[in-house]
Symmetry: C2
Subunit: 390 residues, 2 copies
């Protein structure tokens, strides 16, 4: 299906191992656009640039590199971010302001901007309608597999598409590695509608795995809509149709990121219910989902529910441990704050051997609930992150 | 020197490997006492008991076990905590209310209280003036070495002693394993003075390594003073003499705990200065000191200052990365938010190869400063915690 979007990814020499490291997405016509960016106070140069550029509500291309985050690189970093976008605009024959830039990789190294300049002509030549997989490869850092998905929907009999691409695999702690996500659609929608949909969709997907909103210096999620399908969001009902598809796409991409958690072997949903409020439940779920002791126990396939309850106890919200129940999938491990004994332990041990399961903590205090997705914490995580720059 | 304190530690069979797991400290006469306890909302039974008991300001004995935390064990847990103290009081021939109990180990398992009951007669028989080292061994969990220290001071020509014992080795993340610390002195002081000194001393030592005050379900620091030296805190100057010694003892014990961080190979001071306030500086130091990405980079001996700055950026306080300077010991790595280049990297790499060094982040914004002690995050940490209950 021709959505009017082309993409590609090539090796420009930024990564020393010769892997793809430079990607481009291009829309045949200018697209409306919305974006959400990291809340970190330390911002990479392209993020600073994009936050300004996106205010126009329009973009036509995204150029992204891996291997260098272009962060903490001073004024030169901003010059490099501008140059990178300008090279793309010149060779694409579009206005410089229509290009969004993104970078991911090591912080604090000078950008090899000469390599990017030299590679852009080839990058533009290689653009093609099936190139999103190559783009996905070009933005990988510690990712072990490229992440792309597409879905179709219909509005008033007209079919539209959503094509999503993401990178990120360091989500197992709050200071995660960079997460980038780009969603291209041929639907027609105003930048305001896109922003509404993207905010809601992000809260329901990537914000469920990033634990308390702390993000890296480079994170961004971009939603572009070029209108070429003829399908247009004109009513609230239309918007809901689009929202449901976007939510699914983003959540599935987020799950791919969790699945690729650095060194992760298990994907675990931490569901908290019975808290005094949703906000309390979220704080507890985040604290559990982010606890090194819980995550190492998951890696060890150890039903160490005491660590889970102890993590809840330090989440900074009111709770009565004597009322807490806990379940590993449907196996009740804790009743009224006390362990359910060896038979329950044995059944929970079976659950822990699987690669996807849910841990539910019911505080039995109120209506509040929340859930986050997390993964286990392996020996491999430390190896990956100890050696990252070498 | 006879301080009037005796101690011991024996194997009661709680630990499956036959290691020491039950300890006792006894003062010939009732001692004044002060204590600080974990702020976790989930509290172990002995902590609940001790917080009440200590209100009297007097205690004469501490019985402590490892191998079981007696936490999340319901009403039976409280009965067991009471029993453990009662067994000790009966065999020591003192009032039950003068005994403080402490437990550390796995959460959520029933206490093998029968083993403790059977072992208490031997425990009391083994009490001796040189037994603090055995006590230190008896409270170890994942600790790799016992931790005791003693210092002497003088007041008005009279010599007094401080004897400290601590356990803890999981301090490399906020959901640390239990930290227990007991300080015995033969000085005379009121419970109020002891509490003042202990609060200040804790803030200057253990609270510098525990990152934001989050603690386990069982943490406590106890300060007992039995007055047998004849030295007495009667003036503010006296109190300052005692405070300085106590601070030194607690800080040195805290450093031993950091040194024994689970799987740790390096001890690193994170010093933040130039923040808008001390509180801001503390938040930043805590966030850096607790960052998995920073700690794995330390393990990899990688001068990855970008991760340090990125961690500062998500600490939730105002900062201007363009003004930040960073030093590894006296090697400047970052000036005005930008890396100082390859020569600085090479010199910093030498610093990183050592086992103790300081990282200083100067925000150049204001007078605020703070520092925390942290350690690196190794492959061994994950191994230790994945297998803890097995």
């Amino acid at each position: 299906m021709n959505t009017g979007f082309k993409a590609t990814g090539i090796a420009s020499g930024i990564k020393k191992n010769g892997a793809k490291d430079l990607g481009l997405i291009f829309s045949e016509v200018p697209a409306n656009v919305a974006g959400v960016f990291t809340r970190n106070k330390v911002l990479a140069a392209p993020v600073l640039l994009d936050k300004e550029r996106i205010k126009s509500g329009i973009c036509q291309a995204v150029i992204a590199n891996s291997g260098n985050a272009n962060c903490c690189a001073g004024e030169q970093g901003m010059r490099d971010a501008l140059s990178m976008c300008r090279y793309a605009s010149e060779h694409l024959g579009i206005s410089e302001n229509l290009v969004i830039g993104a970078s991911t990789g090591v912080i604090g190294q000078p950008m090899p901007i000469g390599k990017i300049e030299a590679a852009v002509p080839e990058l533009v030549r290689e653009l093609n309608a099936e190139g999103i997989g190559d783009f996905a490869e070009a933005i990988m850092t510690t990712d072990t597999f490229p992440k792309t998905l597409s879905v179709q929907g219909q509005l008033d009999g007209k079919t539209f598409s959503l094509i999503g691409v993401a990178k990120g695999s360091g989500m197992i702690c709050p200071d995660m590695a960079t997460m980038l996500c780009f969603v291209c659609s041929d639907i027609a929608a105003t930048p305001e509608v896109l922003m509404e949909c993207l905010s809601l969709g992000t809260d329901r997907s990537f914000n469920r795995i990033t634990v308390d909103g702390d993000t890296s210096t480079n994170d961004m999620i971009l939603l572009m809509a070029n209108g070429l399908s003829g399908a247009e969001i004109r009513t609230w009902e239309h918007q809901q149709v689009f929202q449901r598809l976007l939510d699914k796409l983003l959540l599935d991409l987020a799950k791919m990121v969790i699945k690729d958690g650095e060194g992760a072997t298990k994907q675990v949903e931490i569901a908290v219910r019975g808290a005094l409020s949703d906000s309390d439940a979220r704080k507890i779920a985040d604290t559990i989902g982010n606890s090194n002791l819980v995550k190492t126990a998951l890696f060890g396939e150890d039903a160490n529910w005491g660590r889970i309850l102890a993590a809840a106890g330090r989440a900074g919200v009111s709770l009565d441990p004597g009322r807490a129940d806990m379940f590993f999938n449907d196996v009740q491990m804790v009743k009224d704050g006390v362990g359910c004994g060896d038979a329950a332990e044995a059944r929970a041990a079976e659950v822990l051997k699987t690669s996807e399961f849910a841990i539910t903590l019911d505080l039995n205090m109120g209506p509040g609930q929340a859930s986050v997705l997390t993964c286990d914490f392996s020996v491999e995580y430390v190896r990956i992150n100890a050696d990252y720059r070498s």
